[in-house]
Symmetry: C2
Subunit: 259 residues, 2 copies
């Protein structure tokens, strides 16, 4: 039992060079042994995409004597987790952390998020997993104010274990450390995007579109992640990958599907 | 009230040329007015990916007098739905159908599936939505045996409406019509992939990987989609995009996160 430190897999969707993953690595290095496997380029909004019709490249970028082992992968965040678990790691890690994302993954954003999909993939593989996101899209966002909370949540997860089939979606308000009121366990707010497309023309005259839109939250519940974040709290939403709407099965059984 | 036929949006993830979407269009044309917006190339396993760092092209491929209006889109299945709803359609469609996918989207496959993500996106936009998949990966799969069931499920969905926040994930066994035993409302089986990577070398000697793996179902429940399909039934799973594991919130509130 020479080494009792937990083994922690670190990934993200903003890519290996993002300041957010550097902040996450620096916190995790105070807790355990680290292996980083992250996309070689930004992979935001990739959802749970995997690469099945293309090749995957994996490159070790850390040097021989580096204490933190780092790989880049040519695929999606979910590919990173699959390659880490099945090709790189000798044993199942004790924790997988993804992020820290530059920008929110609260509410309906969870479903588009590469950060969260990487964590969900780890959850499917039986690894306790957390996705971390800061409500600041800026590449130069300041992660210092939230580092102590990232550590606290990771340590509590290692100690308490997560319920089976559950991954944590953690979002941080963009506030100074002293202004953060605390950590709240929440449900995902019922919000959506009022989508708009910005229609433009190529130099040669062909129409194309950029996706854009406004976030609309009509959920007034005070138990939601949106409420927590707007009121100065860190939101923690337990996320599951059993997508079954169990509560509606009885209702659907009243349909005349077999007549 | 000149036209009381329902307006139906058709999409998929195998691309506009796939036989599966042609089968789906032929069924839907017997029910309502159709608009097709599908990817211009295969987009399998894209999950809920959206295009935010790239341009989107949208091309109308049907002719002026065609009764069915068809567009191709350069993006993901979810992009197709967003563009259809926000750029093409004058009013919200009465139904969105996605597929028919060449291959299963039962159990954990739902989370990687572009077919289902397109349907889920429609659900988020408040449109009743169904994803259809046949357990046959073959490009020349025979969709004839399931057409009457596709129609039945679509008509029942139009008549009964879906519960709020719920999308149907429908999978068909690869059987002759007379051998299909009926339609079952199910839960998503707890299964996973035992992943393997096939490691190869490029002609110039660089290692690369292909994702591969075996589907492992250790869920013995007879209320699952896997059980239904193995026993000759069509599986219908109500899917939700509220990913909150509500039943675990109380447990997480016992953690010492705020000390």
């Amino acid at each position: 039992m020479k080494n009792k430190k937990p083994l922690i897999l670190v990934t993200n969707d903003d890519g290996i060079t993002a300041p957010g993953i550097r902040a996450l690595i620096s916190v995790m290095a105070t807790i355990g042994d680290i292996i980083v496997v992250a996309p070689d380029k930004p992979q935001s909004a990739m959802g749970h995409a995997i690469t099945i019709n293309n090749t995957l490249y994996l490159d070790k970028i850390s040097k021989e004597n580096d204490t933190i082992i780092e790989y880049t992968c040519s695929g999606t965040p979910v590919d990173c987790v699959k390659l880490a678990v099945n090709e790189i790691l000798k044993r199942k890690p004790d924790l997988c952390v993804s992020g820290i994302n530059h920008g929110s993954n609260s509410s309906i954003n969870v479903i588009y998020s590469g950060t969260m999909s990487a964590a969900v993939e780890a959850g499917i593989e039986g690894i306790p997993a957390i996705g971390f996101s800061l409500l600041d899209f800026d590449w130069n966002a300041d992660f210092e104010p939230i580092k102590s909370f990232v550590k606290k949540i990771a340590l509590e997860t290692l100690e308490n274990k997560l319920p089976e089939g559950v991954i944590l979606n953690v979002n941080f308000p963009k506030l100074k450390e002293k202004d953060i009121k605390g950590i709240k366990i929440c449900r995902q707010a019922k919000a959506y995007y009022s989508q708009k497309f910005d229609k433009r023309q190529t130099p040669s005259g062909r129409d194309y579109y950029w996706l854009t839109g406004d976030f609309v939250n009509q959920d007034k519940g005070e138990d939601t992640d949106e409420w927590a974040l707007e009121n100065g709290y860190i939101s923690v939403v337990p996320v599951q990958y059993d997508l079954t709407a169990h509560h509606t099965i009885q209702q659907l059984n009243t349909w005349n599907l077999n007549e």
